[in-house]
């Protein structure tokens, strides 16, 4: 029998094609409606193959200054004065253009970031469009969103986004900012700038007035220059807790508003009366979605002791059926780790986990030779005192602990510096409410995990950040309200 026989294992290759659109050899910075050459450039790499995809501009202080100036000019002269319904029209147009070019964005997202095409096609891109649609609708209804308050815009917003959901995070940031009448300077992550730069092209196609959206690629220094720029009125950041703390320090005393969406170490709690097969699926979705590069990933699993063996057995069986490999293949479940740096961090923490005495398990299949890969990994026999339980791995690594009572589950779930998300699995409605009330997390899912919607606020407690994105709460972060 051939290797691709239906009975004998793998599927025949089913790659999504990438020949229906163009990725340029190099991209400049999108400033004030024009493409501006940067003094330096850097390469962006396909983490699944190590091949260079394109070269992009590296914005320095000068370029940031230019971008903020452009945004200020656009804010003062056009955008803040435009009738809100007109702003809404632009946002609707962007949303529709994203839908029209959905396949292109999905493929580029998977090439640049390593995530499976199934996810970029079915989650990232449709949700990005949904965020523009949702906020387009709010643009001319802000006074109804906040009854009794005078609503006005803030000014120029500096936004720094991470590499795990590059296009989606750009949409989360840009859509509400524009809907409320602000202008934007956005810096995409160093390893995944392409979809943001493609979004800049799309915004140009949509005919947005110059300077309303500026997109400047670069690295940490670029982001720092943007955040510290004196003419930025608000900072919105999604990324690591360490950088978030630094940003909070740097904006202290400046009067700048800020929202931070940082790390997480979510507890996914499975009771013995849970729908067990669906819970296993939810655990897999919770931690292996986007290779675990998800701030709200369910990276700590708490299973009631009476069903722990059963759940772990089922979990292992399910993980064995996951397809790891080429992100552009439609059958791929687990793609590539986003960067060599992140891979090294995951490997290091996994080593720590082993050294601390937790029991490691990985599925039997191999991974491709070239590129950055890490197999889905389980750690059993973990304790609260293990570093793999306490620290955010941001990779496909699940730390499993058992619990005995609801009180114990809540106590342990909350025993973390983070407080972004959580999950509860039980067939009993009253238990769901008891648990979700007790969990100190911004988002708690019941009998599901990693569900997102533009109308639902997202954000954390404690070291997981401050402020909310999405829904009315997210909208309020981009408005000045006076009563």
């Amino acid at each position: 029998m051939s290797a691709n026989d239906f009975l004998s294992g793998g599927f025949a290759a089913a790659p999504e094609s990438s020949d229906h659109f163009e990725i340029k050899k190099s991209y400049d910075l999108f400033i004030d409606g024009k493409w501006v050459k940067a003094p330096k450039q850097f390469e962006t790499i396909n983490p699944a193959t190590d091949e260079v995809i394109s070269r992009v501009g590296f914005a320095g202080k000068k370029e940031i200054n230019q971008a903020v100036k452009g945004a200020r000019k656009a804010y003062d002269s056009v955008w803040s004065k435009m009738p809100p319904a007109e702003r809404g029209k632009y946002l609707f147009r962007i949303a529709r253009l994203i839908q029209e070019r959905a396949r292109e964005f999905a493929v580029v997202e998977s090439m640049d970031g390593g995530k499976p095409i199934r996810e970029s096609r079915d989650v990232d891109v449709p949700l990005a469009a949904a965020h523009f649609f949702y906020h387009a609708g709010w643009a001319d209804k802000l006074k109804y969103a906040f009854p009794g308050a005078e609503v006005s815009s803030i000014g120029v917003v500096g936004q720094v986004i991470p590499w795990n959901f590059p296009l989606l995070m750009a949409a989360w940031k840009i859509a509400p900012a524009l809907a409320c009448g602000n202008t934007v300077v956005l810096k995409p992550a160093e390893t995944t700038p392409l979809t943001a730069l493609k979004l800049a092209e799309l915004i140009q196609d949509a005919g947005l007035p110059p300077g309303v959206v500026n997109i400047v690629s670069g690295a940490g220094d670029t982001g720092q220059a943007l955040v510290r720029h004196p003419d930025v009125d608000k900072v919105a950041f999604t990324g690591s807790t360490a950088v978030g703390k630094a940003i909070r320090r740097s904006v202290a005393g400046t009067g700048k508003r800020f929202t931070l969406e940082l790390g997480g170490k979510a507890a996914n709690i499975v009771f013995e009366d849970a729908p067990i097969n669906e819970a296993v699926e939810g655990i897999v979705n919770g931690i292996f979605f986007n290779q675990g590069h998800v701030c709200c990933a369910g990276s700590r699993l708490f299973v009631q002791e009476s069903i722990a063996d059963k759940v772990i057995k089922k979990l292992k069986k399910r993980i064995e059926s996951l397809v790891i490999g080429n992100p552009l293949d439609k059958n791929t479940d687990i793609g590539a780790i986003n960067s060599g740096e992140q891979l090294a961090r995951i490997k290091n923490l996994v080593k720590v986990g082993k050294d601390e005495g937790a029991c490691i398990w990985q599925p039997s299949g191999g991974v491709p030779r070239k590129g950055n890969w890490f197999k889905p990994t389980l750690f059993t026999q973990c304790a609260q005192s293990h570093r793999i339980v306490q620290e955010e791995v941001f990779g496909p690594v699940l730390a499993i602990q058992t619990f005995r009572t609801p009180q114990e589950a809540i106590a342990k779930a909350n025993n973390t510096p983070y407080g972004l998300s959580g999950g509860v699995w039980t067939d009993k409605g009253s238990k769901i409410f008891k648990m979700t009330t007790g969990l100190n997390a911004g988002v708690v899912w019941a009998n599901t995990f990693n569900k997102f919607d533009p109308s639902s606020p997202f954000g954390g407690y404690k070291e997981s950040g401050i402020g909310r994105e999405g829904g009315l709460h997210g909208l309020s972060a981009y408005c000045q309200l006076s009563h």
Partner: protein, 304 residues
Amino acid sequence: MKCDILPFPARRDSPTIDQIGVEERAQRFCSRSLKKETKMSALKLAVSMLDVTTLEGADSVGKVSQMCQKAMHPLAQDPSIGPAAAVCVYPRMVKAAADVVKGSKVKVAAVATQFPSGQMRLKERLAEVRYAVGEGADEIDMVISRGQFFQGEYRAIYDEVAACKEACGKAHLKVILETGELTTYDNVRYASDMSMAAGADFIKTSTGKVPIAATLPVTLVMLQAIDDFYERTGRMVGMKPAGGISNAKLALQYLVMVREVLGPKWLTNKWFRFGASSLTNDLLMQIRKQETGLYQSGDYFTKD
């Protein structure tokens, strides 16, 4: 010694099913993309898993005999395709079918136990099973008493399955749950667990006589029940979705699901069947399309 009959399982021993979760999971199998050799081998496999079915008041010896020919030689010009796994008929047609398929690999399955409603005393229903087996049926497709299930008389379901299994003798027993009437996934799961404990060789979704027949999520619930049963007892139980699977694409989605839930061990017609009447020719048409790159006219495929 392995005993095929396990004690009556309590309802609370069956895990609960989350409707949204199971439907999402089922949907995900549909995003698998089968190409080239994978697709071809899956299509051929599907043909060999067909229970070619006719269950009409108008069934006659002539009609059944012709259908049996089709089951034995699905694609006249290519003997490597098929044969189908079985033909599925009413008890009175068993003899006619058995005469035609004698000596071939095609089995004869008979629906029995007052198919499709099951609304008759157990005594007469068992007599029907014995009659069909006596006429030469290799397999019996029984229906459970959904009415009694809803009355909470679960043990009666367990008992009737066990009694049918006994009446079957050497014939294999497929238990039709009629999932469209049981309605909730929790009911389907419990009915599956009871049937398997009582000795079912196969569990089957539907009679094809009510509007809602086999669906991917309901089949997934039953496959999970089979998986858990195998994990606990080491006994393999077969699965037969029936009704509503009318095209090749859908059939392949079922096969992907079996592969990923139960593994390749279940991917033979000993453990998985499709109950269908119109699926055959679509599978054949897709096979020819894979071979030649072109869709062919329906007139090139026999209609028996």
